[in-house]
Subunit: 110 residues, 2 copies
């Protein structure tokens, strides 16, 4: 990871991008859960939904970690998973963008 | 609790009543979860739903216990909670019905 400082302007860009990705994924999960719930016909299906929700909760809590020391990994993952586009990070310095792109290409997102 | 045997006919009545209550509660919970999901607007509300589902799963697994040794308690609770009516148990002998009614009145159902 890069050890570079984040300028005030970069911090604003980062926070905005972070929130955009969070809102996008939040809405997608809400829609998905709503659809899955409406399709559940018995307790067995409902408990599968409960397990799915439990996993999602753990995943989301782990993923959205706003510490500058790990933010390049976070953004790389969000790009890899499709919740962010590189354009959302425009304004970060080139070294950070290269690092994020590099990590993103290393990740395997399902 | 009573130690009385369950006749073949009583077992059939008991199984049918048990299944009726299970199906009623299952449908009510499915409808409730569907409504709650459609009203969730963010992760915080979704995680409350996840906690609620987890509690319901534990409650349902504990409640629907088809062992003859505890069946009077199970039926008393189901009556107390409104998932069964006494008419659903018609055909059980009077001693069992009295015991179920007695326990049901002792329970406090929310």
């Amino acid at each position: 990871m890069t050890n570079k400082e984040w300028s005030k302007q970069e911090k604003e860009i980062a926070r905005k991008a972070f929130n955009v990705a969070y809102d996008r994924e939040q809405q997608a999960i809400l829609d998905d859960i709503c659809k899955r719930t409406s399709e559940a016909n018995d307790f067995a299906e409902l408990w599968r939904l409960q397990e799915y929700l439990t996993e999602k909760r753990i995943e989301i809590n782990e993923k959205y970690d706003y510490r500058y020391s790990v933010l390049d990994f976070v953004f790389a993952r969000l790009i890899c998973e499709g919740w962010l586009q590189e354009e959302d990070l425009e304004g970060l310095d080139d070294e950070k963008l290269d690092e994020i792109r590099r990590i993103s290409l290393l990740l395997e997102c399902g």
